[in-house]
Amino acid sequence: MGEARNRADLIIYWGCNPVETHMRHLSRYSSLAKGLYTPEGRKGRKVVAIDIRPTPTTKGADLFLQVKPGNTFEIASVLRALLRGERLEEEAVAAVAGVPLASWREVAEAIKACRYGVLFFGLGVTQCRGSDINVEQVGLLIQDANVHTRFYGLAMRGHGNVNGSNQVMTWLTGYPMSVNFSHGFAQFNPGEFSVLPMLARGEPDAALIVATDPGAHLPADAVRHLRSIPTVAIDPHKNQTTPWATVVIPVAPSGVAAAGTFYRMDNVPLRVRKLIESPYPSDEEVLAAMKERIDHALRA
């Protein structure tokens, strides 16, 4: 994000709305930020927005392409074709995702003409029909853009340090998430081992819930299964899981009453400090104590 701040003269927001979701992002790192080679800030940057509806982010863009939902793969494909110089006839490809080919040409030309471009993409891209294959095509689009100029892509992650668990799982197992150890070795297949298919099949018979709120953020049938099994919730806050969890262990919030490391969404680790005292232990201390007791029980 430092690169985006200091160098980017083209910013593309696709399927994301950082004005509402990442409020400091624009002024600190992207379209509004003034940096070493971007002293004019917003004036020196071209901003393109691609979304299925107008949002505060699209209103601040120089060019807004309002697309039909479910067309991420097609959009990435047409932009790749244009960047690679493939011949596309206006008569044959009049519009992609409801937007005329001429507008996609304009985006492709902006990519070719920029000194340093950054594509910020959100859940509108990653959770669109096709899911992982979309992300692969967007990755290939970024590769194609790098034939012409320097171009970078970054997923707009959600909660603070949501990247942290991906980092740790990756260095431990080689996989970023949805890792299943039930056979004694690490297996990865999100469509089978993410929390939802597991709960839909009714497989888990106990759950340890750390710093997340399935009561608010998982589908009702998944919550129904969680509520039928023993659950331990470790969280600094009262949320929509703590009222029904079998055991709730309150902990000190990291970065406020406990030190630790947060991974920013561009994979930069940031050390956070303890600012105030808390009567509660950190989540690290709680998990370490639980692990010690499990180890002790296994040795007994």
Binding site: E20, L65, G124, S131, H217, P219, A220, V223
Partner: protein, 154 residues
């Protein structure tokens, strides 16, 4: 500059039979869950506070859809999917007809299913076929309002 169709709604967009002379009984379209600034801010102050619970039950839809349903700003509607139904408060917002936007949270999650992830492990948070109808029509009477927390999940 703004490029795109006037109505970028999904092909499945359609309206139900006339309830009154000017209103339709329901509209079938797609639900897209989103973050809103208010949802994000109120979530940090606590997921049990009234403002958060009201925000996650506030549906944004095209003003023409709102009028077609015979509803006014702030009117209540029933949102139904194959997996559940909830009562929401309607707010007119920019966007194509037939696309409905609800902040992520427990209300939207009553419409999704863990069993339907199309092989991705993630539910249909960004495109779920739903029907919107004004509250108090036909079999929708007596629905419990959305945003009541966990109490009616089980």
């Amino acid at each position: 500059m703004h490029c795109g169709p006037e109505h970028a709604g999904p092909p499945a967009w359609r309206v139900g039979s006339a309830r009154e002379e000017t209103a339709v009984s329901h509209i079938t379209g797609a639900l897209v869950t989103v973050r809103t600034a208010k949802q994000g801010a109120e979530m940090e102050s606590g997921k049990t506070n009234a403002k958060y619970l009201a925000e996650i039950a506030t549906l944004r839809l095209n003003p023409d859809d709102l009028t077609a349903l015979g509803l006014e700003e702030g009117g209540q509607a029933v949102l139904a999917s194959a997996h559940g139904r909830v009562v929401v408060t309607c707010r007119a917002a920019e966007g194509p007809r037939g696309l409905f936007f609800l902040p992520l949270g427990e209300v939207a999650n009553r419409l999704c299913s863990a069993a339907v992830t199309n092989g991705t492990g993630v539910p249909q948070w960004k495109y779920l076929e739903v029907t919107v109808s004004p509250r108090g029509t036909g079999d929708d009477d007596g629905e419990q309002a959305g945003g009541t927390g966990h109490a009616d999940v089980s």
